[in-house]
Symmetry: D2
């Protein structure tokens, strides 16, 4: 039940309008991992020329959702329960790559991490951990 | 060295372009606390009509910065070192109020918390803790 | 369904053997709040004479459990889902007081915060946030 | 400047008396990584037979310190600035293995993660992220 990246990107843009507004691209998503790309945008910068924290958090959030969707054939009604980001170095004023990985997929809670890097750099600019709670449907 | 809210709002919009793009308002900022308001925007919603996580994180981030600025006469070059958000209930599709409070102002690290509420509601929709590192100037 | 503090202390010692080993005292527990005290112990110190991090984390964990128990008449099978501690200043080599407060009591997830102080001091030495998941019984 | 594991274990026991009291063993420590083992102890269990949260937090804390020490020839005066643990599944009532990894070693702040597993199991029982602040000496 692997999902083509174009279809995954459509799901992500539909579910998270900010991801569409920022032009977030899904580069890969399979087996509980996903790689997403946030293109360079002038209005996502902070003075000094670094990509703003909220943009990095938003990117990490959708990257983890894509990683979860890759395990469930594109159907996932989980919601972010918490997200913790640590900033490691100022990101360069260019595109950012997010690599997400599900560490545990549970029935009620899932958990994973996301590494964020400026495109073309090895050292991460930020690290994220996040828990997701399964939405409970009531009849 | 109290700062008028209009001046504080100008500082916040200048320092964080996303805050200006989203029309974030500074309602109060003094003595290590700050209250900010994120107006209702269609493009900050998620399907289902709740305000998106990245918008809440971004609002919390600038609210803490305003609280720090209130202690330093509007001059602060700290950067977010980490931010952890826990989502408590889905925010209603309307304006969000953030109340930030500095718990510790240190020379190299400061720490505080932010409560987020849908406007007009008592119960918080999210809680944030965040550390800020003083930017070190090198000659 | 308020619980006497002696009974609450018995519950906490029974449920968390480390709390008993360290002689943790319940000073107050009612309405979703609890105040606990960790007496001074030589073997909970670090070199330099500060109370060790793991001892502070353990104290915070049982303090939140007591706060949750105060809401449920002493019956609670929740488990810690996550705990985040920020160290604000080195605790003095004496007893530590923990003040826990439930921010949200949910059906499946609860959330709260704990302030830790050296006994007799106003400024906190650490701040904790923590989520608890309801244990699900299977027949 | 690699350090023999016996010497590393001595440093860890000297610096963290709880680690000595619990008999924590250093299995490996080099290049910014470390593997530690917490032996089985009846008094570190919770009712139900799982290893208690504070014991896991304490183990993770010293594991990260060992990983930092491996980068600095055994001299490190950093202190834990924060630690966040997410519990993924109840640990079995036996020894716990901690694998720590430094993600960033900075001048003033370092950051890393720790995976905790019951001995002999592949799936982690907990995941930790933690920041350490360099202790600043004043003349």
């Amino acid at each position: 039940m692997s999902i083509p990246v174009a279809e995954m990107q459509r799901l992500v843009h539909e579910g998270v309008p900010l991801a569409r507004a920022w032009g977030v691209e899904v580069l890969q998503a399979a087996g509980g991992t996903a790689t997403l790309r946030l293109p360079h945008h002038e209005d996502l910068l902070r003075p000094g020329g670094t990509v703003s924290g909220p943009a990095l958090m938003g990117l990490a959030d959708v990257a983890m959702w894509a990683a979860l969707l890759s395990l469930t054939g594109g159907k996932d009604e989980s919601l972010t329960a918490n997200l913790a980001i640590t900033f490691l170095r100022p990101p360069a004023p260019r595109a950012v790559i997010a690599e997400a990985r599900v560490i545990k997929k549970g029935r009620t809670l899932s958990y994973g991490e996301v590494l964020l890097r400026s495109e073309g750099e090895a050292a991460p600019c930020a690290h994220v951990t996040t828990s997701w709670a399964s939405a409970v449907r009531r009849a």
